[in-house]
Amino acid sequence: MAETNNNHYVAKDFKSDQEVRWCPGCGDHGILASLQKTLAELDLPREKYVFVSGIGCSSRLPYYMNTYGFHGIHGRAAAIATGIKVANPDLIVWEMTGDGDALAIGGNHYIHAIRRNIDIKIILFNNEIYGLTKGQYSPTSKKGLHTKTSPYGTIEEPFKIGELTIGANGRFFARTVDYNLQLSNEVYKEAARFHGTAVVEVIQNCVIFNDGAHDAFTSKETRDDNTLTLRHGEKMIFGKNRDKGIILRDLKLKVVKLGENGITEKDILTHDAHEPNPGIHYRLAGMSLPEYPVALGVIRAIDAQTYDAAMMEQHERVQAASKIRSVDDLLVSGSTWEVK
């Protein structure tokens, strides 16, 4: 990542002159605000940023950022972002996408960007619905959801984004909530500092077509008891009274109450985001109600060589060994003959 330049940015420096056209009350406003704040705090040269997106409500975000931006076509943001980053690894590439864009039409590009470990930051807005086409179910919609294209309820099992990401050999996965600016800011910064594909699932509320989809763990009444905010090196303790925790038993995660059955804090798992074995991370990312709290924060962050860096390294190696420097050199290489 490029060094800071003492630009003394404020969030406003990252606001473009375009009018923001999301619905009032949409979770996207919060995401935009926390991203602008994060970028100001990171203090990296503005001209190095490229915000890339596909199609959908989330994908309008690049228009509102005063950086370089590319609003692509449906599902292809990861491929476009890959091209940008590989072409010029000096650029800082953030992809804005949604559950339909990244996981339905763009599922292929999504898993391959992750597999390659391209150094891009993927912010995946998950509202479990198609908003811009006015309310059809998505690959993350809960089974049974009634929408315009599932008038009798969906019969599909949804993807869990974390499981899919880790299954695709994802090295960084985090989860945050649209309105939680502080956690978002923290998570975005960790993603920014990570070398490689960083996926941040943002639990986002669509006020029009799927309002309250996440209330069971995002509302004021439920969030403390039904979410677990993970931080590397800290115990997996949660709850309004911080009296619940996660242990591993019979190869499964289990929610326990501190003080019950002789459970003390030392029995509770300590979060290790840097453990290469994906077993625990996969289970944490897949935790859902009612059995478990929903995990927030950085669940997995494993350093590995990025695709773009590996390519640079290979180039240097080949260049050091090759005698071909120019097209003229190339054209006369191999078998040639002279006609006199």
Partner: protein, 612 residues
């Protein structure tokens, strides 16, 4: 080596190597071509192979062929009919019988003409009698027996021994032409350098084949084809895919841009990706994408980031890329899309040639989608048209479609190597750092190209995308703005200056034979032969499809009749009917997955001229 009793002097000879797809015929043909080219022949080659890597052994469907036309005169086509056929099995006879000239020589591996093989090829009795080839000059060589004998003292497994069969056949053909073995021996040494025993076996068998030719000399005459009157210079052999890749590199160098290629493997275009993947020494970034769409989308991203970006594909892949190609139209970014056409529709004939993607290239996208379209005419031409496609893309800020095809991609010819200092310059329309007045879609008054503001440049932060924009780059659904932008993009493409159409022959006459793309060799050869025979015929060959050359109308006006020859049902003819309506266009079409033969074109033209 050795005296020859009977030598036939020829201006040109067509040789075809034919066998099972695992018999190494493509390599044999390539080695023979390169040896001929080094000697100074003009050559043209045509590999013809099945889509299956190893089709059922001994069947006609599994036959892989490689045809070489060598000449003491200038050669423009791989030849209609074969003078010498090397047949490794009966299926190779069946597949090629109708392409043999009267009096041809057929060298065949008689060990493979067992009852089983003969039946598998679909014959009931003697293949040569059934296909009426018994009057040809037949040379039966028990190749399998002979190589076993030649290698009996070496400690080799039977598989390695059998794999040298092609070298024996090649050795025999070298004897027929009194060719030098050095090029092939050097090749063997390089290829099998790490397996000296295998290298030795191949060299030994090559020589055994050569001496076998000498031994049976009494049976057959040998040929002498003198060197061709070729322009002075340094030459190399090049095929269309390699030439395409190198043309892109040349354009990058002239423009001061590094190359990015994002592609997905597809026959017959893969060679372009493979060739560019080798060129990390020249800073080429190549990415084998997860699919065709990712191929073009990574290229669009790379173009946005400031590289000369390319994606290569064939017809089915172009279909998948069409939505993204429109994104490049809308964002007005330079991009070269190469379609190496093959037989369609759908998977069609993956290894065969056709020119049926023309309409897809011109029109296969949603909305008003103007894209310049170019088509290369010969394998080495691909270098210049790939260069030209990139030059147009950069200078006019637009995606450009380059059409080649299977015939050009795999075919090869000697190429006089150009010097980069003689190639045209390329001007990149960069936006300038910290330009306070930069507007993303403001156009150059001359070319209507917008300026290219590369991410990383301070002060030029802007957004582009697939939604309709104003000049400023803001999203706009305003009716008048949309019409203005649609027309501006259209005019930008129509304003591209392309070279005038050249006429081969006189500027007026009874008939103008019109071709485009890869039919160049057959059309020009047919027309020059017709002229020699006294017909008032000329040829006009199109490499610029959109926009068409400015003098097209003037050229057409000089002739009583026009005929458009193409390997589809008439796509270019219909395009001309739309663009130049006042003419009556005759059509000569072939849709067999094969190039035209010169004879077919001549026969049709004579019929047309004689009013039949």
């Amino acid at each position: 080596m050795g005296k020859r009793s009977k030598v036939i002097e020829k201006d040109a000879v067509v040789i075809r190597f034919s066998g099972d797809s695992g018999d190494g015929m493509q390599l044999t043909g390539t080695l023979f071509s390169n040896t001929s080219a080094l000697f100074g022949h003009d050559i043209s080659t045509f590999p013809d192979y099945p889509a299956e890597i190893r089709a059922p052994q001994g069947t006609v469907g599994g036959v892989s062929g490689f045809q070489v036309h060598i000449g003491h005169k200038l050669i423009n086509t791989p030849g209609d009919f074969t003078d010498i056929l090397v047949a490794m099995n009966p299926a190779a006879i069946r597949a090629n019988a109708r392409w043999l000239r009267q009096g041809s020589t057929i060298i065949y591996d008689s060990d493979n003409f067992t009852e089983k093989h003969i039946q598998r090829a679909g014959y009931k009795s003697d293949p040569f009698v059934e296909d009426k080839l018994d009057s040809m000059n037949l040379i039966a060589a028990p190749i399998t027996t002979l190589i076993k004998e030649a290698l009996k003292d070496m400690d080799l497994d039977p598989k390695t021994v059998l794999r040298t069969k092609n070298m024996f056949a090649l050795g025999m053909v070298y004897w027929l032409f009194d060719s030098k073995l050095k090029y092939t021996e050097d090749f063997i040494e390089e290829k099998f350098g790490k397996k000296p025993l295998v290298a030795e076996a191949n060299s030994k068998v090559l020589r055994a084949g050569y001496y076998y030719g000498e031994t049976i000399e009494a049976l057959t005459p040998s040929y002498r084809v003198g060197p061709a009157p070729i322009k002075k210079g340094i030459y190399r052999n090049i095929n269309g895919n390699q030439a395409t890749a190198w043309g892109i590199l040349a354009a990058g160098e002239k423009a001061g841009l590094k190359i990015f290629i994002g592609s997905y493997p597809i026959t017959p275009a893969t060679g372009i990706l493979e060739e560019l993947a080798l060129r990390k020494d020249m800073g080429v970034k190549s990415l084998q994408a997860e699919d065709e769409i990712a191929g073009i989308c990574t290229a669009i991203g790379a173009s946005f980031a400031g590289r000369l970006a390319v994606t290569s594909t064939s017809g089915p892949g172009l279909a998948l890329k069409s939505e993204a190609l429109n994104l490049a139209v809308m964002t007005e970014l330079p991009l070269v899309v190469i379609d190496v056409q093959r037989g369609g529709p759908s998977t069609g004939l993956p290894t065969k040639t056709e020119q049926a993607d023309l309409w897809q290239a011109l029109y296969g996208r949603n909305g008003e989608s103007p894209v310049p379209v170019l088509a290369a005419g010969t394998p080495s031409d691909c270098f210049y048209y790939a260069f030209e496609a990139a030059k147009i893309a950069i200078e006019h800020m637009t995606p450009v479609l380059l059409l080649t095809d299977s015939y050009l991609a795999n075919g090869s010819e000697p190429w006089r190597i150009p010097s980069m200092k003689d190639m045209p310059s390329i001007t990149v329309p960069y936006a300038v750092k910290d330009d306070k007045d930069y507007l993303a879609y403001e156009r150059d008054p001359e070319t209507l190209a917008r300026r290219w503001a590369i991410p990383g440049t301070p002060g030029l932060e802007h957004r582009v995308g697939g939604l309709e924009k104003t000049i400023k780059g803001s999203v706009s659904y305003t009716p008048e703005n949309h019409e203005y932008m649609v027309r501006a993009r259209e005019e930008k493409v129509e304003k591209i200056k392309v070279p005038d159409l050249k006429v081969a022959g006189k500027n007026n006459g009874d008939l103008l034979v019109i071709g485009w793309g890869s039919t160049f060799g057959q059309v020009t050869t047919a027309v020059s032969e017709l002229r020699e025979e006294g017909y008032k015929v000329s040829a006009a060959h199109f490499n610029y499809i959109r926009p068409l050359p400015g003098n097209t109308d003037k050229v057409f006006a000089g002739f009583k009749k026009l005929v458009v020859c193409e390997l589809n049902t008439g796509q270019f003819a219909n395009y001309l009917r739309m663009k130049h309506q006042k003419y009556n266009y005759h059509q000569y079409n072939k849709i067999q997955g094969l190039p035209f033969t010169v004879k077919e074109i001549k026969d049709y033209c004579i019929k047309l001229l004689e009013g039949k």
